[in-house]
Symmetry: C2
Subunit: 369 residues, 2 copies
């Protein structure tokens, strides 16, 4: 019989959170025959019984952790000794663990004579297809994302062009300041803001640059906002590109092409479609619009990714084959990047349906502010 | 010759951040003979060259990742195949990895014939002793922590007692609202607020309960604030317990005893001291004050922990032997917990010095507001 073992800090390990709905360090979840047991420290037991979704809560002490600690004077070995007892008590003879499971623990379990098998896709299938409740949680995070984006647009609207700088409330408007406005809006909505991107000008050609320094009129400004709800733990993800002042002709062409690439990608999405075809549709649309990837602004990343308890999760919409399924939630985010010009990226978040998709994003796509 | 390998998401893996000062997913750091190499994806290369502290930046493609991917059609195996080449190119014949290194990768490297050794304390010694720059970073985070605590105290001061509720700006003051005020202050200071604890009343007897619901006059309120700087990535950590209105006699006694326990713990701290003795001093002080751990309010956790790039890192001040060294940064945070009464915890953050300690905390300890 197999036992699934998840362990670590459920703030980071989303499989662990998915199965327990409980936030703690050094947490253990053991599942045999569909029956889950949460194993905590003595200190966390009371909170686990109140907050966790797992019916059975036990503590490491009950499996002889304290005695093992006294005997071995080594926390890791005492931990695996106690857990080995829990596993054997459950009747399991094989341990299934996920891709992040530490070698330190796996090696120790193997020394205890336990067969450890790693499943690189453990819980991927379950987590890919969202329940109604999960989709509602993502939509709620998306509404907070849109309120924050709205605040950023408001600040830009209230800014004034002074020569080659923008002024807000009488002082130059920086990317840091704009990011702080977004973060404050998110925090007031009960969100963890993570690290919003407010990247203007040429630097934005690095898609992960978060943005530093003054915002110039006429520069494209990428606003990529992907907070997590502190209540539900679900993320959302949206990008808008805006410009205060008049964009150059090439920026305007880049924006139009990106809109078309996104529409082309959308048109491919439905249950049963191949994620690779969604990505290829965006690549083809860019080529048709004159952005062929050889010179000038280029499309340098994949078209989307799943979103849930992790900001990046399966399925990916890139160069690998993957069959989309109903109720998967994915981003669609084509973009163009040029170190001499800057960047344009437009990202919505959608639910895959039987015949197409439902867009969870309501925020308008307006380039010029 | 040994090679140290760190890999993963440097947002979570602090050894990886410590060595690279670069934030990215799927990052690789390889060190042979003290010479580090950062290996990134093609997309991250430019940003890595600009932002990272590692001199040599290469990409996985240079070690044959794309060919391996085409041949094997398996990301993990292609990853270890390319990295095995990088390791052999470096002249190393043994791989040293840390406690979180995934078994999935370790197993694959072993299949490639590479000897993988796990060092559960990899980089602990280096990270424990802070440089002047690291201490300055923690102090800066502490100043932001204190501004946020100041904001919370201000809100409590401006609140009014209406029967058995507190009102702020005309509406009942909740723990959520107070937490939001703390978070906004932290965000405006460029901090990641993580998850401040604003726990009032009986529920606070669970030391990790973050707090939900209205704050009542006379209840003890635990404010535990431990944000991370988005600029330096260093945490700080401080707890104050306050009460709006008159505390009960037993709460007042708990507060006094906790102050004394903290002083007793402080008195033990110096380079060369045993962390276990620091903890025992706090336990003894509580016992002398009449809190013996058998009945009534109890001291149920250890006395402190190291703080740096991780909020909880070595050395711990608990029941295990550990020799304190100069320039280690630790918290000192005794507390008393009773499900019928609530909690008191007082936490400062200090630097261990040759003859004692330097307290980085400036925030006053005032129980009644």
């Amino acid at each position: 019989m197999d036992a699934i073992l998840l362990t670590g800090d459920s703030d980071y390990n989303q499989n662990l959170y998915y199965k327990t709905h409980f936030l703690a360090e050094g947490l253990i979840y053991l599942e045999v025959n569909g029956e889950g047991t949460l194993i905590t420290s003595e200190m966390e037991r009371g909170r686990a019984e109140k907050e966790s979704s797992v019916h059975t809560v036990r503590t490491l002490r009950e499996f002889g952790f304290e005695e093992a600690m006294q005997e071995l004077n080594d926390r890791t070995r005492a931990f695996t000794t106690a857990l080995s007892r829990a596993i054997r008590d459950s009747g399991a003879d094989r341990l299934i663990v996920g891709p992040d499971f530490p070698a330190l623990l796996a090696d120790n379990f193997r020394l205890e004579g336990i067969d450890v098998q790693i499943d690189p896709k453990l819980l991927d299938a379950a987590r890919r297809q969202k329940s109604e409740q999960e989709i509602a949680a993502i939509e709620e995070s998306q509404r907070a994302t849109e309120r924050a984006a709205g605040r950023a647009v408001e600040v830009l609207r209230d800014s004034e062009v002074h020569g080659d700088t923008l002024h807000y409330n009488g002082i130059p408007l920086t990317m840091e300041r704009l990011r702080s406005e977004i973060e404050v809006s998110l925090v007031r909505d009960g969100m963890d803001p993570v690290s919003p991107i407010t990247a203007a000008g040429r630097g934005a050609a690095d898609p992960h640059w978060i943005g530093h320094g003054p915002i110039r009129p006429g520069d494209s400004l990428v606003l990529d906002i992907f907070p997590r709800s502190k209540t539900t733990r679900y993320f959302s993800d949206m990008t808008r590109t805006v410009v205060k002042g008049r964009p150059s002709q090439v920026l305007a062409r880049m924006y139009e092409a990106t809109l078309q690439a996104q529409e082309a990608a959308f048109a491919q999405i439905r249950a049963g479609a191949n994620g690779k075809d969604v990505h290829q549709a965006a690549v083809d649309a860019f080529r048709e619009a004159g952005f062929d990837g050889d010179t000038g602004p280029r499309y340098i990343h994949s078209t989307g990714h799943g979103v849930g308890l992790d900001i990046h999760e399966a399925p990916g919409l890139g160069t690998l084959d993957v069959e989309l399924q109903e109720n998967e939630v994915v981003t669609v985010e084509p973009g163009l990047y040029d170190p001499e010009i800057g960047a344009v990226r437009i990202e919505d978040i959608v639910v895959v349906t039987k015949d197409g998709y439902r867009n969870l994003t309501r925020f308008p796509k307006q380039f010029e502010i």
